[in-house]
Amino acid sequence: MNQQVNVRLAVTRTILWGVLGAGMAVAVVRFLRGLGVTTALTDLTPWGLWVGFDVVSGVALAAGGFVIAATVHVFHLRRYQPVLRPAILTAFLGYVAVVIGLLVDLGRPWNIWRPTVFWQPHSALFEVAWCVMLYLTVLALEFAPVVFEGIGLTRAYRFLKRLTLPLVITGIALSTLHQSSLGTLFVINPGRIHPLWWSPILPLIFFVSAVALGLAMVTLESVVSSWLFHKEAEWPLLAGLGRAASWVLVGYLALRLADLGWRGSLRFALEGSGLAALFLVELTISTVLPILLFTLPSLRQSRRARGWGAALVVGGFVLHRVTVAGIGHTRAAGEVYLPALSELIVSLAVVAGMALVFLFFVENLKVWDEIPPRPDHFRSPTTDPVSRVLVRAPWWGAVQQAAGAWVVGAILGVVILEAGAGHGAAARPDPVVGPGAIGIRRIPNGGGPGVRLVLAGAGDPAPAADVALSTALLLDGNGDGRYVLFEHELHQARLGGASSCERCHHRTVPALRATSCTRCHRDMYAPTDTFNHARHAAAVGGNRSCERCHPAGAAKVRAASEPCVSCHRQDQVRPAPFPVTLALGEGIAPPYRTAVHGLCVDCHRRQEAALSLRDPYLSRCPTCHRGSGDRTELAVRRGWTVAEGRPRP
């Protein structure tokens, strides 16, 4: 057996290493660049797969540990002893996976120790944290005898063996508490989670489903291990677990339906929405189908049915928990969270990592009776006594294979991330829409203060001959249909007529008297790089003229180059609202919104100070962002109205 190559095991292990590599690559980006680029989480759906699967499901997937421990040590059903060690090992690794998943999900993981010192007993999460911490310790102590036995620490082994019963019972009590507290987490916000899932008895629902999930997980890992290691599964025991699981599942189904019925929420199941379908699918695969598979006389003797039943329970309850923790949070938020591929990869990688540790323990310690430990397997490498050359250990090939799979996986992990993720979260581009023009008339406001602005054309009530038609600009940079009516001619006249362009406009583009704002400020919220390197290079003489801008010996980066103004001095206008400076970041135009607000508001503020009595609100938003007349008090106070229904330019 030892000498034969187990192909199934080798292939599985290679895949696991690949998944681990992909997840670790994503995790590196997550820690360097934040959750924004690696997850689909939003402010309204702040929890997703990493909480829902790694933590909330992970804890329940590890429930086999306390369920089987109770079966063997409390109920003295000693025949279940053969599945106890694997169950404890799965539980221990499951909780380690929970902690790793949590570390990836936490925004500030270096503070994870704080709940141990600064107690907040009013928080359900605080209780979960403590229970998980304590139970992880208990599980380590429960599994430690296996390790001590393997490495020959007999006294430590005997000592811990004597503590078995107290440890087991502490573990059961802790599990009861935190398996249910995971449900308590979601009780606090009834409005957030869809009524098909929110319930005041979520703690009870989570506890019962954890028991079923624990039984199913033990079955599943026994079936999978028997396939991997070509050994017989503990079928008679698994039949017993299946019977027990079907009872728990019937209880769970009754509990869910009674709860939904009592709260009057059952009607949502038939509302035909996506979530209603999700609910029906979840309940079918987590309970209805497995109950049939475990109990129908024609099926219950079938090993395949038992394996599939367990797999359905696991899949169904994971779906339930991910929904409660993330997908179902659509009600108040009004937006749907669906995990990103990068989130999925990290979650799978956590599982893959634990599966690899599990396989390592199975091969090197006595976890299953039928799979003897292989003490020769990880012998340390030796050197040839004569040549001093390293003699390859038998596991060297496996290491190479694992490393290769890991690297391939890591590359794939980088590939699935969205482009540019390595640079951090990028805002959506919001290209600026240029202004349109429209004819307006300024009509004296019949006795009242100020003037009335009337759009020329359709809504023009009385085009008096003495009221000149002038052109105004309709500014709508973000194209949302809400305009700022900018009286360009009026401003120009007040600022000094035809020679006043540079009071507002840059004149950096040669031969243009005034450059329009949107020529360079091309994005509402992001700066625009306006420097065209190819064009400049061609203008100064191509490849032989680098030193014209890039000093010899200095790096060819913008910060170390000649400032634009050293050539463009003639384009600089004084006094200008935006003196062309020599500062860093030259050639970068600020966002349109920043630039235009800066230009208009600054000038209005100066005018406001000068004309404080005439117009104390000149620099305030509604001066330009006028509503439709009737509801902006300030606009009314200034005596300005704009005809309704402005046509688009």
């Binding site: 924004g36 929890w47 059903l77 999900d105 500030r108 704080r114 605080f126």
Partner: protein, 267 residues
């Protein structure tokens, strides 16, 4: 409850939507420029860089959104490390040095008004803190937003007095306002109160909100923790002892002992 509790009263009928409060908030709290990131609807939505914002309500009304500073804040009760706290005068504050970033506060907020720095590798929870630090250090006398409001649509003061003022306005102009002060009873009361002449259910006051304290939903369950721990432990010890003893007795009756015990355990 004789504790001095400060509050903000926003009169939706007076708000002109000028966003002076938004700009004042940005200046006072040194918030950055708005950016249209993928995780928010648009750049002017409430975000890590925008702790208060203006949304539209029916009939062209403007409603200012920001943290409601609940009298019994669900976020503070949910926080496992105590990073969120209700201060002695009512501001719900946040300490990023303590926070471990679990975002349970965001899940717990009944109004969904907490925001997160998703773009940062060292993210913080971001929300209105009623300018708590500036007021404590004497730099400000009242939150920057209320001080900036040109229409006095949003004002700062003692909660009891503002509540009385709110009802006085409602009673003194019959038919103008809806007969309701939002925040008086919702989720056990908030320190940010609204009166309005239009319904606010589409502007952050969902019909689903309950009138009782939200932390109570959890504390009801958490109260049972010690009893559950002791109870389950005792029951398990008891069961183990009883079953073990019965098996020992059964084994003494039938020979050979070991076999009998095993079978006894199985059945």
């Amino acid at each position: 409850m004789s504790v001095r509790s400060m509050a903000i009263l926003t009169d939706v009928s007076r708000c002109i939507g000028c966003e002076e409060c938004v700009q004042a908030c940005k200046r006072a709290n040194h918030l950055g420029d708005d950016r249209p990131y993928g995780w928010q609807d648009d750049a002017t939505a409430l975000s890590a860089e925008r702790w208060t914002t203006i949304v539209r309500a029916p009939r062209g009304r403007y409603v200012r959104l920001h943290c409601r500073h609940c009298l019994e804040p669900a976020c503070a009760s949910a926080c496992p490390v105590g990073a969120l706290r209700r201060s002695e005068w009512g501001a719900v504050t946040y300490d990023p040095d303590i926070c471990m970033g679990c975002r349970y506060c965001m899940v717990a907020c009944p109004f969904l008004l907490t925001r997160y720095e998703w773009a940062s590798p060292t993210p913080r929870v971001r929300k209105c803190i009623l300018c708590f630090d500036a007021i404590r250090e004497g730099r400000l006398e009242e939150p920057a937003c209320t001080a900036a409001c040109p229409a006095r649509a949003t004002v700062f003061g003692e909660r009891d007095e503002l509540l009385a003022e709110a009802w006085r306005r409602i009673e003194s102009s019959p038919g103008k306002y809806l007969h309701r002060v939002w925040g008086e009873h919702e989720v056990g009361g908030t320190s940010v109160l609204y009166i309005s002449d239009v319904d606010l259910s589409s502007a952050g006051w969902s019909h689903d909100l309950r009138r009782h304290s939200y932390p109570a939903l959890t504390s009801r369950v958490l109260k049972t923790v010690p009893a559950t721990f002791v109870g389950v432990s005792a029951a398990m010890f008891g069961l183990s002892w009883v079953i073990g003893r019965r098996m020992k007795l059964a084994a003494r009756g039938t020979e050979p002992a070991a076999e009998g015990a095993r079978r006894g355990g199985e059945e």
